[in-house]
């Protein structure tokens, strides 16, 4: 309710986008209006930005800026942004902004904190950065670069042969790439492909977020519920990822379709990360559908007088609306579970098993009572897709939960102080604090070098992952003093005798704090709980025996405000794990280098799984 005539700041900003790729959208109207949190724009002809996202329409292939849209212009704002159109670059800018803002909002909501980039940097989006069949995240400039290209002349599907296709007009591609950027911010060591699940997880995670996010658009879901009569495993455009893209490059179908029949043996036979990732996407989708069905069982029973069999013909619009609303809610729950899982993942070398356990634990911590049995559905879905949790006794929820620490563990004062201070910072970030609002400082990272070859690009991404083994290096890579202070204290805590051993780390090696976050959640009893999640990494040096990969150890800790450790999720320097990495590198070499060449794996592994190479294969 307004308190004064001056009080006109809107909560949300409505913007039109294509919910499906324009090609699919042509078949029916899939333009939708979505809303994103309102924040004021700063505008220049060469770009516009809010406090976290910056859209710069620079075409690096043509050395040209396309004029930025003024979203705060009254005429544009009153029609929820400009009309969706393929030929209008300003609509493209509007769409990437809207989708990216929605992804960041989903992360904020799920994580219980505001996602912030290094030094409060903005995430930059270049909707027409280059001509090419790709879109990728460039950590060097904290940017997502979208390409555009002409459709295949021979086999363009429903596109016109030779027509321009814009990757930035695909909701999935935008959401996918922005998710890569955020995951990279949360876990930058996931760039290191120490096992096939790591790049697969990056891809699958980005796909899952893109897919579930679309399920939260009520207009879209209502339509699909009506078309599929509530059967979410039926083929529908919602399940197709990158539809126009797939058709435009001559694949003749959407890049991949989820919801296929599960094959539990696939995962053991597969090393190729995209295919592996698809297994994970399919498993999460299956879990989502199971939860949705459980959630709507009563609804269907009421609607059918208990028979469970829906009548022929169109469903009643009220039923469609209720199903859609349940679908959107379930999607939001699963999305939260999936995103929140990142807080419970080890900071290096994760596997699907780690992800499943992290998901179950994250959900358990958030919703103790699980009325729709989401956790059990998810575990069952993973099982039928052949993803087995490691080192657990059974498939019950209890045994899949990560092991909590002994509550009798003595609290640590230093740790308690860190959590306390972090709480304030987090609140300030969310503008929910009584602390004096501080001018937000922004930091410029050192100018990124030019890229002359793909090898340059790969090297740059890994240079910052590898640390010399000396204590002189800072504990944390963060320019903002307030954040850096807490990081330093955490570093001190990690150095105290016995801490590293307790975390499964090497007592003799230095530790890097690669991230720490405040987490707020409501406990079962209704009280607000504040915790801290921190990631500690002991980075190794590039190792020739491991194809140039660095063998690193790390631990994720969850600590309460009382200074007690609640969870420790660690990947220690173990012989077994090293042997696994080595086995994977050798298998990789065997696959592509069968002959009598001197083994020189070097950067080949990284090159094959770099963000750009992965997305390059992914989007074509």
């Amino acid at each position: 309710m307004r308190k004064s005539p001056q009080d006109i700041r809107p909560e949300r900003r409505a913007l039109k986008i294509f919910a499906f790729d324009p090609m699919v959208a042509r078949a029916g109207d899939h333009r939708v209006t979505i809303d994103v949190p309102y924040s004021k724009m700063q505008w220049r002809p060469k770009g516009f930005r809010d406090d976290r996202i910056e859209v710069i329409d620079y075409d690096g292939a043509n050395n040209t800026y396309y004029t930025a849209i003024q979203l705060d212009d009254a005429q544009i704002a009153m029609q929820d942004g400009v009309e969706p159109a393929e030929a209008d670059p300003q609509f493209h800018q509007q769409m990437v902004y809207a989708v990216a803002a929605r992804v960041l909002e989903n992360f904020d909501r799920a994580l219980g904190r505001r996602v912030r980039f290094w030094g409060n940097e903005r995430l930059r989006l270049f909707p027409h950065a280059f001509e090419g069949r790709n879109a990728f995240f460039d950590p060097g400039t904290n940017s997502v670069l979208f390409g555009y290209f002409r459709a295949d002349e021979d086999d363009a599907g429903a596109n016109l042969p030779g027509q321009l296709v814009f990757t930035c007009l695909s909701h999935d591609i935008v959401a996918h790439e922005v998710t890569h950027a955020v995951l990279d911010r949360l876990h930058r060591h996931f760039r290191e492909p120490t096992n096939p699940h790591v790049p697969a997880l990056h891809e699958a995670f980005a796909d899952i977020v893109a897919m579930l996010q679309r399920f939260t658009f009520p207009e879209v879901v209502r339509r699909v519920m009506s078309d599929t009569r509530g059967d979410l495993l039926r083929r529908s455009p919602l399940l197709e990822i990158g539809a126009q893209f797939g058709a435009a490059v001559g694949l003749g179908e959407a890049l991949r379709t989820v919801g296929q029949a599960p094959d539990p043996t696939l995962i053991a036979r597969t090393r190729e990360p995209h295919r592996l990732g698809r297994v994970l996407v399919a498993a999460v989708y299956e879990g989502f559908v199971r939860a949705f069905e459980r959630r709507t069982k009563d609804l269907i029973a009421i609607a059918t007088g208990g028979s469970g069999r829906l009548p022929e013909g169109d469903l009643h619009p009220d039923l469609v609306a209720r199903l859609a609303s349940e679908g959107a809610k379930t999607a939001q729950l699963v999305l939260t579970m999936v995103i929140r899982a990142t807080d419970y993942l080890p900071p290096v070398d994760p596997t699907f098993s780690d992800f499943l356990r992290a998901m179950v634990t994250a959900d358990y911590e958030l919703h103790r009572a699980d009325e729709i049995r989401l956790r059990a559905s998810m575990i069952e879905a993973f099982r039928i897709h052949g993803i087995r949790p490691e080192a657990v006794g059974s498939l019950s929820v209890e045994s899949l939960l990560l092991d909590p620490r002994d509550p009798a563990d003595s609290p640590n004062e230093l740790l308690a102080k860190c959590v306390g201070e972090l709480l304030h910072l987090g609140m300030r970030d969310m503008k929910r604090s009584t602390m004096a609002e501080k001018e937000e400082k922004r930091f410029l990272r050192p100018a990124p070098p030019k890229v002359e070859s793909s090898a340059d690009f790969i090297k740059q991404q890994h240079v910052e992952l590898v640390r010399e083994e000396d204590d002189k290096q800072g504990d944390i890579d963060e320019p903002d003093e307030d954040w850096a202070d807490i990081g330093k204290q955490l570093g001190l805590w990690a150095k105290t005798e016995g801490t590293r051993a307790k975390l499964g780390l090497d007592e003799k090696r230095p530790v890097q704090i690669t991230g720490f976050h405040p987490v707020h959640r409501i406990a079962a009893g209704g009280e607000l709980l504040v915790e801290m999640v921190a990631h500690l990494v002991q980075a190794g040096a590039p190792d020739d025996e491991l194809g140039g990969l660095a063998f690193s150890a790390g631990a994720t800790i969850v600590a309460g405000i009382d200074g007690r450790l609640r969870y420790v999720i660690s990947k220690p320097f173990s012989k077994e794990r090293r042997a696994r990495v080595s086995e994977w590198v050798r298998a990789f070499e065997r696959d592509r280098n069968p002959g009598f060449r001197e083994l020189r794996p070097g950067d080949t592994l990284r090159e094959a799984f770099s963000s750009r190479a992965m997305d390059g294969r992914r989007w074509r």
Binding site: P45, G47, I56, G60, F596, R597, E598
Partner: protein, 413 residues
């Protein structure tokens, strides 16, 4: 006792083999070499020599079967020579992708044609280190594109099509192999009574020939455009000028960031792209086993790992091909002794006692990639003879021709 003769001409970096069967039937496998690494012959001399050898043997200008394993210049280039106009061929065998009537093949080539043309157009204007440039030019020349000249734009002019077309016209019968997806596909050619042919490659499945997606053609198009000149037909910016922001307006990103975006937009690994084209063409290579009496000849052309991995242990057709490979009594070493044309498993299956021939030429230059690989030569053992540096004392069955311009292997069959 009937005998079979295999003659390896010392063509340098290339292949040209003449097989003579006991009933004086003749088989010519490839006829070409790379300009940058020739051996003892010019194209004209080579063709004259082959024709003279055939005439000396049979008294006729007739070759029963010609095999063009794949369309690289170092394998088919000399088929362009006018001297062939006087020679007739019984059958000519090509990989299925060289069937001009196959829609599938046309689709496959079209993509690579466009891509390679853009690459060739862009290369002259790219900042590339000299040794890399040499390597790229080597590969493009082999694919039939001389990037220093204007690339021919017509699809038909691409990749040594002229040489193949000559072959097609000279042949009484043409076979495009394999015809089916069966591996191995076996047939008995009428032109060679008593001979059984097993086709192990290339894959009949286009997606197995092009396993990895090619580098993006658009990038090269764009590069060529930026280089200016005659290539302005290539592309235009995606939006009309009315949408452009005034170039001198206030910066929103630093000059360094702008430069990085540009470098990311333009950076194109031309060498990687050229290698891709090269691998793709090698992947179309015929991989044949010829049963001639008791002899079993393994002729893999330049087949690379993509073709082999289906056949060696762990591959989809390993069981069906095991016996064929294990009992081979002669091996033409693939791709001039390169790293990925001869799997270690294959060498194990063949054993050290099988005679082998490597048509190659070592020397300086990145483009050779250390061909032939010392480790491979070592693994093949003393019965493997290379064309450029044969040992002083040849193993049993091998014989040097006059002036050392060719080497014969005679084997019982």
């Amino acid at each position: 006792m009937s005998e079979l003769r295999i003659r390896m001409y010392n063509v340098g970096f290339g292949d040209c083999f003449l097989l003579t069967l006991p009933d004086d039937k003749t088989i010519l496998v490839d006829c070409g070499f790379h300009n940058n690494a020739p051996g003892d012959y010019s194209a004209k001399e080579l063709v004259a020599q082959v024709i003279a050898d055939v005439v000396a043997l049979t008294g006729k200008k007739w070759i029963d079967v010609v095999i063009a394993t794949h369309r690289h210049r170092d394998h088919v280039f000399a088929f362009n020579d006018p001297q062939w106009d006087e020679v007739q061929f019984g059958e000519v065998w090509f990989p299925w992708v060289d069937n001009p009537k196959s829609a599938e093949a046309t689709k496959l080539w079209r993509k690579h044609h466009a891509f390679t043309m853009h690459l060739a157009a862009a290369v002259p204007s790219l900042p590339i280190a000299p040794e890399k440039r040499e390597e790229i030019e080597f590969l493009l020349w082999n694919a039939g594109i001389d990037e220093r000249g204007a690339p021919a734009l017509g699809f038909n002019a691409w990749s040594n099509e002229d040489a193949l077309e000559k072959l097609r016209r000279r042949a009484k019968k043409r076979r495009y192999l394999p015809r089916t997806r069966k591996v191995p596909e076996t047939f008995e050619p009428e032109a060679l009574p008593g001979v059984t042919v097993h086709v192990l490659g290339p894959s009949r499945n286009p997606s197995e020939i092009v396993e990895e997606e090619p580098p993006d053609p658009q990038t090269f198009k764009r590069l060529a455009l930026n280089a200016g000149g005659e290539n302005a037909w290539l592309a235009e910016p995606p939006f009309p000028p009315v949408w452009r922001a005034p170039p001198d307006d206030e910066r929103v990103i630093t000059a360094a960031d702008e430069a990085r975006i540009e470098s990311l937009a333009r950076q194109a690994d031309a060498l990687f792209a050229a290698e891709f084209v090269d691998h793709m063409i090698n992947s179309t290579s015929l991989l044949l086993v010829l049963d001639i009496g008791k002899a079993r000849l393994l002729l893999p052309g330049d087949a690379e790992w993509g073709t082999w991995k289906r056949l060696v242990p762990g591959g989809a057709h390993a069981d069906a091909c095991k016996e064929l490979l294990e009992t081979a009594s002669f091996f033409k070493v693939g791709h001039h002794g390169s790293h990925n044309a001869t799997p270690e498993d294959l060498v194990k299956m063949l054993g050290k006692s099988v005679p082998a021939m490597i048509s190659t030429k070592s020397g300086k230059g990145n483009f050779r990639k250390g061909i032939p690989l010392p480790k491979l030569l070592e693994a093949l053992g003393a019965r493997a003879v290379r064309s450029d540096k044969p040992p002083e004392k040849l193993p049993k069955g091998f014989k040097r021709g006059p002036g050392g311009h060719f080497i014969d292997l005679t084997m019982k069959c």
